[in-house]
Amino acid sequence: MAKIAYYPGCALNERSSHLDRSARDATVKLGFELDELDTWTCCGAVPPVSEERVMNLIAPSRILKDVRDSGRDILITICDFCYNTLKRTNYSIKSDEITRKRVNAFLADDTPERDYLEKDDSLWEDYEGEVKVIHLMEYLRDELGYDKIAGSLEKPLKGLKIAPYYGCVMLRPQNEIQLDDPENPSIIEDFITALDARPVKYPYRTECCGSYLSVSNPDASTRLCYRILTSARNSGADAVVVSCPLCFYNLDSRQKAITEAYSDFKPVPIFYFTQLLSLALGVDCGRQGFEKHYVDVTPVLDKIGVSTGKGDE
């Protein structure tokens, strides 16, 4: 089975382990394996690329260089923050010669072999952005093909109406990410269609969930999530699908606060795209980690005739 280099990142290692596991289950069903890097560090989660400081790019650059040095040229990530950070770091290294030189100077200084390098720098090969950073959903769309998924469904999600939620960093900035049009995207809609479910149109799919405001100004995030979820619900959605762990946290866990603040609010189940994918590919429901969700997903599962099997984990 083909193995593709995979960078899980911090969230998938811990709080969002159900995103990690459902992705691994689903990809195996689709004929390839997510091969976690032997060693990896924190990517920095977007702050590295939000200001122009080369020092901040060192950690993500080291991850990319390690992938290159292991002889691979594709790296899959799933978390939108990891994807954004790694892809944009790679873009900076590729497109800007000064950044490239400075990053490599730091990396060389940082290696355990630096004493040898001082004597013989032929051992060193600059990292020049050779690795292609790919979002798992991008891989499914462009490399595997959504039609391949549509042809492999064991449990089509027929009858489900799903609202795609893009969040902020999966698509922006467009010139560096180039995954889809950030103002009028279709990659998640097409994914939903491939699972035989129906994508719901609603205006808030690309609006902000509050991101880290969840920590510093939770009320603001509550208000934003209320608007997103209510709009999705009013447009007929049974559930909202996301790929970003922070979006998931805000849209799912925050529903407790939303329910307290807004009397008219009705809960909306949230899914990771990988959970829907692995369910549709026939992976056992008990492996999806639904016990980690704040909002009960049973009403959605009932609709497609899947038994919850809670507590199987």
Binding site: D181, E183, N184, P203
Partner: protein
């Protein structure tokens, strides 16, 4: 030995601030051949030119050098002055010490030394300059105007009125262009049709204008005064000489085609005229939409046409014409709403563009002038107008200002208020730009008397919610986010060049700028001429502009053509390539490098000659010639060698 005079210009402080002009004159005086040198504050002014003329005579000069600005600016000025004082114009040279020296340097000492060096180089060239005579070229006194909008119509009428023949070519079946789509025009609110249609009729009937509608330019060759043009007359599948415009065929046609003229708010048959006031008022059949052409059955139009004007066998025809000048007035298009993802990408039915709103306001439009929205025909009570939709947005769309939108949006809001008295309109804007006679007053009246709400800020998103169209924007003056659930949204989409312009300029060998609009020879001093002689430009094909400016520019372009035609013959610059027939081996390498098709192989002599009318003197063939047979007049090898030597000696 030639007696050379050097005149050094201060150009106010443009040159004198960075270059020590007095020292340049002193140093020039020391150069071999220079017998007189002088500086002056404005050499191009009358006293400056008088100084030049006077010293030519007093000092008995054989040649002069003006050390000043670029030759593209004032070479002709000083050559005329030299001629007046009895010199051959080609004994006058320009040493460019402004654009190529003072403007681009800051170190006064180094700039001065460079200026001296430039003058020294030109002295070397001037010493060996020959006296030349201009080459006379004949001229065909007939103009070609491409594009039948208001610009093309105006230019054609002006040229025709002065007695010269004009061919007016229009791609669509009728002339009129975008102006025919408009309702009323700012700032005087006169009806567009009322002021345009008489001009269309006049152009259609003028004895000096040959109207070729439903036609396109296939090929253009030749040069100023003598262009050969091949025009494709597309087959309308209707014999226009028979058709009396009764319109029965259009009534009966069962096909449905979205109307481009009505911005797709209505449909018409596969046989149609774009609008009732069309000139010529003759229908065409759209082959791709015609049921007969698609299925082989129908021919209903043929059955109802009593005079038998329908002809399905018609084929495109080609016409060859000779003309002396060409005006390009191909107009504009607007950025498609579908390109604006954040504004619904064309999927929200009640988001339309300014031209569609013009059709809704127009008495001859699909709603007979009543403002009704496309989705359900309801009269909108709240309209949001969004300016700069795709303009002034270098990151996502067009970097430039589309210029006409501030005024037409204000006009739209005002006309809407006149039609729907209890309606409310909002205008989102970045700045309100009202440069134009009576424009600011027009805007102030709308804002203060008509209750239109102006919101300074951009719109972030537009989407459909039930039967409302929701607009999210921001008001940067209060710092608040604005949400309006509107009944209709009108986007002032960016003005862009027509798709077909890019292809046309290749055939004409004229140029466009970074945004695809036609380039002028000089943005201030030669605004209606292309850099290639014989080509003129008018209207919005050159950049966004309103009707008054377009008409003024069209008349200006016409005037340039008339002035060209007023001469008996044209004078071609003689400083071009020539061939030493004894040296030329006929290898023909020059033919392959010539961008102007000016080199021709002479079978009889076995050499390659120069077509003097076509040669622009670019020097490509001179450089390419392996045996030195091709030389440039007044830029001979020996001149260039001595110039190079002089320039190297300076450092």
């Amino acid at each position: 030995m030639k007696r050379i005079g050097v005149f050094v210009c201060h150009c106010g402080i443009n040159i004198a601030e960075t270059v020590d002009v007095k020292r340049v004159a002193e140093e020039a005086m020391q150069m071999e051949g220079v017998t007189y040198a002088q500086d002056y504050i404005y050499m191009c002014s009358e006293p400056g030119q008088a100084l030049v003329r006077e010293k030519i005579k007093e000092e008995n000069l054989d040649a002069i050098i003006i050390a000043a600005c670029s030759p593209t600016l004032h070479e002709s000025t000083f050559r005329a002055a030299a001629e007046e004082a009895g010199l051959n114009p080609w004994q006058c040279e320009i040493a460019n010490i402004r654009e190529q020296c003072s403007w681009v340097h800051t170190d006064r000492e180094k700039a001065t030394r460079k200026a001296i060096n430039i003058v020294g180089t030109i002295v070397q060239k001037t010493r060996l300059n020959e006296s030349l005579e201009p080459i006379p070229v004949s001229i065909t006194k007939k103009a070609l105007v491409i594009g039948g909008g208001i610009a093309g119509i105006q230019a054609a009428l002006d040229i025709a009125d002065s007695g010269y023949k004009v061919i007016l070519v229009e791609k669509e079946s009728s002339i009129g262009g975008h102006m025919a789509q408009l309702s009323e025009t700012f700032p005087t609110l006169d009806c567009s049709q009322c002021i345009l249609t008489p001009k269309m009729v006049a152009a259609g009937k003028h004895p000096n204008i040959e109207l070729l509608t439903y036609s396109e330019i296939e090929e253009v060759s030749g040069y100023v005064g003598n262009f050969n043009v091949r025009i494709r007359r597309k087959a309308p599948f209707v014999d226009w000489s028979k058709c009396n415009g009764c319109g029965l065929c259009m009534e009966k046609c069962p096909a449905k085609v979205s109307s481009v003229f009505d911005r797709e708010l209505t449909t018409h048959g596969a046989i149609y005229v774009p609008f009732p006031q069309a000139v010529p008022n003759k229908p065409v059949i759209v082959k791709d939409s015609c049921i007969y052409f698609k299925t082989g059955k129908c021919r209903l139009c043929e059955k109802v046409c009593e005079i038998g004007a329908i002809n399905f066998e018609q084929e495109d025809q080609f016409i060859e014409e000779e003309v002396g000048a060409i005006i390009t007035a191909t107009g504009f298009e607007t950025l498609p709403v579908a390109d604006l993802a954040e504004y619904g990408a064309g999927d929200v039915p009640d988001v339309i563009d300014g031209l569609a709103f013009e059709r809704l306001l127009s008495a001859s439009g699909p709603t007979v002038g009543e403002v009704r929205r496309p989705s359900d025909g309801m009269v909108p009570k709240e309209i949001v107008f969004v300016q700069c939709a795709g303009s002034r947005d270098p990151e996502r769309y067009k970097p430039y200002c589309s210029k006409i939108c501030c005024m037409y949006t204000t006009k739209h809001a005002l006309l809407y208020k006149h039609r729907v008295h209890d309606g409310q309109s909002y205008i989102f804007y970045i700045d309100i730009r009202t440069g134009g006679k009576g424009y600011e007053e027009f805007y102030h009246n709308a804002e203060e008397e008509e209750g239109i709400i102006y919101l300074r800020g951009k719109v972030a998103k537009i989407f459909r919610d039930g039967d409302k169209t929701v607009v999210w924007g921001t008001d940067t003056l209060t710092g608040r986010n604005i949400e309006i659930a509107a009944d209709l949204v009108v986007l002032a989409t960016a003005v862009i060049p027509k798709d077909s312009t890019a292809e046309l300029v290749k055939k004409l060998r004229i140029h466009t700028g970074p945004n695809g609009f036609l380039s002028e020879a000089h943005p201030k001093l030669r605004p209606v001429e292309s850099i290639n002689s014989g080509f003129f430009i008018a209207g919005a094909a050159q950049g966004p502009r309103d009707i008054p400016e377009t008409v003024a520019q069209a008349s200006a372009a016409a005037c340039k053509v008339i002035s060209l035609f007023s001469r008996d013959h044209l004078e071609q610059d003689p400083a071009i390539a020539w061939v030493d027939e004894d040296l030329c081996g006929g290898c023909r390498i020059c033919i392959s490098v010539c961008p102007y098709d000016a080199r021709e192989y002479d079978e009889e002599k076995g050499i390659v000659i120069v077509n003097e009318a076509l040669c622009e003197g670019c020097g490509s063939c001179v450089a390419a010639c392996a045996c030195g047979a091709t030389q440039q007049r007044n830029l001979s090898d020996s001149q260039i060698k001595s110039m190079v030597t002089a320039s190297l000696r300076g450092e």
